[in-house]
């Protein structure tokens, strides 16, 4: 019996190390992006060129912006990510908590040479994007929706609407539908009863909504005719119009909000020095432009525009004829309210 157990214990010991071998330490820089076409554009337009030039390998992972995952890595001292593309409120929180490292000007260049909101103590813009209203012109013939109020108008524009199943990026559109101009949306939301007003407006559209969690879902629904219009990130729609010849229309004049994601260096990153070198290279305007040339999102450096093709510049949320209809997401509002509003939104959805 003792023998049998000893044998078992020995086999146990053989089995455990066999699986506990980790593949981390030595290796390429790990950058964490938003997946799909976004990562593809970054890979082709930016990372591959860097690898070609320096020989430094870059591994791409994807996430959904969960700052908790970074916190878990930093607190446990087991950091596997080097560089993450995080939404501005997350960079704000992560920077305040010390999850991201401050970037010196020697890496990012002169902060004054950046567009407003695209440079942060702990980050440099990866992309400036917008959530816009888009419709399928094959389904809505003739005059299409012109405003978020039209989005709510199911008599005039029959058919289902796609909507992002979360509070952040959605409540702004709801307030615009309720007649609030973009510049006033956060003032109204901050007023007592402002959020209630948004949820009351949401109640009206609810039966006509097909909810989406990933932009791919939303674009599929738009393509299949499951929805006739949807909210969406602008480059997703531009991409499908251009690459797949879809007959979609982006209604910039309905009003939109834009935000900036930033590349942030994780504290304790396994390849800190290599990542700083990569960021220094990325800060060159012509290197940033590699992304905008493939995907209709802006980057940080003002001069980057000089290296982006004209027809691409016209698709950016920050193009002059677009930006006059838009306003910037309020990071401070979402830092404070994100969790409580997401929980309330989830509760509302499930009711």
């Amino acid at each position: 019996m003792r023998m049998r157990c000893a044998l078992g214990a020995a086999m146990l010991m053989l089995a455990v190390p066999a699986v506990s071998v980790t593949w981390a330490e030595e290796g390429p820089i790990t950058v964490v992006g938003w997946g799909g076409n976004w990562d593809k554009a970054y890979k082709e337009g930016v990372w591959d060129r860097y690898t070609e030039k320096t020989g430094t390998k870059i591994v791409i992972e994807e996430w959904a912006g969960e700052i908790a995952k970074v916190r878990a890595q930093v607190q446990s001292g087991n950091v596997v990510w080097d560089l993450v593309a995080a939404e501005a409120p997350s960079v704000e929180i992560g920077c305040a908590e010390g999850l991201f490292e401050p970037l010196p000007a020697s890496v990012t260049g002169d902060p004054a040479s950046y567009l407003p909101g695209t440079i942060h103590e702990c980050g440099v813009a990866s992309d400036t994007w917008a959530t816009i209203l888009a419709y399928n012109a094959d389904r809505i013939k003739g005059e299409g929706p012109k405003s978020w109020a039209d989005y709510w108008n199911v008599e005039k524009f029959p058919g289902k609407r796609g909507m992002l199943a979360q509070a952040q990026y959605t409540l702004e559109n709801v307030m615009m539908a309720d007649g609030v101009p973009p510049s006033e949306v956060y003032n109204e939301l901050r007023k007592p009863g402002g959020v209630d007003r948004a949820f009351a407006k949401l109640d009206q559209i609810r039966p006509h909504v097909v909810w989406w969690n990933t932009s791919t879902q939303a674009m599929q629904n738009l393509a299949s005719g499951e929805v006739v219009m949807t909210d969406q990130y602008n480059a997703r729609v531009s991409n499908d119009i251009e690459k797949e010849g879809k007959n979609y229309v982006i209604v910039w004049e309905a009003g939109f909000f834009y935000g900036t994601d930033l590349w942030a260096l994780v504290k304790g990153a396994p390849h800190r020095e290599a990542t700083l070198k990569l960021l220094t290279w990325f800060s060159e305007p012509q290197n940033q432009a590699g992304f905008s040339n493939l995907y209709a999102y802006g980057t940080g450096r003002k001069e980057a525009a000089d290296f982006v093709a004209k027809e691409k510049l016209d698709q950016l949320p920050t193009a002059p004829h677009h930006i006059k209809h838009g306003a910037s997401y309020d990071d401070a509002f979402w830092v404070e309210n994100k969790e409580s509003l997401e929980e309330r939104f989830k509760a509302w959805l499930a009711q």
Binding site: M1, C5, A9, E66, I93, D196, W211, S224, E336, E339
Partner: protein, 415 residues
């Protein structure tokens, strides 16, 4: 290999029996030990630790020890506290920041009083830089006038106990008022009781449908010859060998707007526009029944095989109508199998996550999906743990009800 033989040196025939007897107790226990230790370390301990988070408040108490102590005698009516409390908080936050736990403190306090996250984080940052070392009260108030709000202080003071009922109450749509009494949550935000009832309802419907559909199939399996019966069982077992995820994915493919079901119906000219088949309650029921039905059939068959067929024949030969005979004679005999099947199906249904997440709309989400949401999206471990406790209690209650039901059936059939 024969180490024991060398040690004892005795002929093996003499050795065998005492050997077995000697190790009957603890030798065998030693064989079981790896499993027990393993399960405790990788299953029971993580589980218990996680469930404890539902009442755990130590993140606040451990990170703000001086503040909690300084606020011990403070009352809401006292207004904004004095120098000592401000000093204690500045020190605590500076320490928390150097331990990188200020983010958690800020998150927990923001959970209870929305709009305080920045305040805590920025105060912690300045505190670590030493901005509040002299005259902390005046300095903090000057930098951050929000510290003038009494609610911020009372929120911290209310959370100075090691244990909290905040999450357990929240999971029942209840909360504590400023006066300390329990009150229902505002209607727009109350959702968990509804989700709990929905979880039970979906499970009940799935269980009943499974039971009704399974009964004739079980009858058929028992009625046919042994070979046919074996084939039938194998066919019914086969889906069980396909993963739950795959079977759910299959239903998504089948039911989607341009999937085979809609395509077929359109091809046959029955419908023009595709039907909304997916992301509905019906699609959830269909998928869940398909996944769980085999278990129900097998439980009933297992019992049915053991019941004598003569009783039913006797009742029929005595002239009883078939259904009466079935209900009065056959049903009580197979009741233990039905009950066991219902128990299994119900318990599995309660914990469903993948299928509702993929094939249901927002109104089809069950408790499990909320547990995952609070873990993944808002990192509200406390609420996720409180909901888990709710779900586990439901399972225990179901099990008790099942035992009770079995006892009743047994007593009735004995009588």
């Amino acid at each position: 290999m024969t180490g024991t033989a060398v040690w004892t040196g005795a002929p093996s025939a003499l050795r065998a029996r005492p050997f077995a007897r000697r190790f009957r107790g603890w030798g065998y226990a030693a064989c079981v030990a790896p499993l027990v230790i393993f399960l405790v370390l990788t299953f029971l301990w993580p589980l218990g630790r996680f469930l404890y988070l539902a009442v755990d408040n130590s993140d606040i108490v451990d990170n703000l020890p001086r503040t909690v102590a300084a606020l011990a005698t403070w009352q809401r009516a006292d207004g904004v506290p004095g120098e000592d409390v401000f000093g204690a908080l500045a020190q605590d936050l500076a320490d928390a920041r150097s331990r990188k736990t200020d983010g958690i403190v800020a998150q927990l306090i923001n959970q209870r009083l929305v709009g305080t996250r920045y305040l805590i984080l920025k105060t912690a940052k300045l505190a670590e830089e030493g901005a509040f070392e002299t005259a902390p009260r005046a300095a903090m108030l000057q930098h951050f006038p929000e510290w003038n709000r009494v609610e911020v202080w009372s929120t911290i003071a209310d959370d100075s106990a090691r244990l909290t009922d905040f999450y357990l109450l929240s999971s029942l749509d209840l909360r504590r008022t400023a006066e300390g009494s329990v009150a229902p949550a505002p209607a727009g935000q109350a959702v968990f009781v509804q989700v709990l009832l929905r979880t039970i309802w979906i499970s009940v419907v799935v269980t009943l449908v499974c039971a009704v559909v399974a009964l004739p199939v079980a009858h058929a399996i028992v009625a046919v010859g042994p070979t046919a019966s074996r084939v039938l069982i194998a066919l019914i077992l086969f889906p069980l060998w396909t993963s739950l995820l795959i079977r759910t994915v299959i239903w998504i493919i089948l039911l989607q707007a341009n999937g085979p079901v809609n395509g077929g119906l359109q091809f046959l000219g029955i419908i023009v526009e595709p039907l909304d088949l997916i992301y509905t309650r019906t699609s959830l029921y269909i998928a869940m029944v398909q996944v769980l039905l085999p278990m129900m059939i097998l439980s009933i068959v297992a019992v049915m095989r053991r019941t004598p067929k003569d009783y039913m024949k006797a009742a029929l030969s005595l002239g009883a109508p078939w259904f009466t005979a079935w209900r009065r004679v056959q049903l009580p005999l197979i009741m233990p199998g039905i009950l066991a099947g219902c128990g299994i199906v119900f318990v599995f249904s309660l914990g469903y996550y993948i299928t509702p997440a993929l094939i249901g709309g927002p109104k089809e989400q069950m408790i499990s999906s909320f547990i995952a949401f609070y873990t993944n999206n808002t990192l509200n471990w406390g609420l996720a743990a409180a909901l888990s406790i709710q779900l586990l209690l439901l399972l225990v209650l179901t099990w008790c009800a099942l035992m009770l039901g079995r006892g009743l059936v047994a007593r009735r059939s004995a009588a």
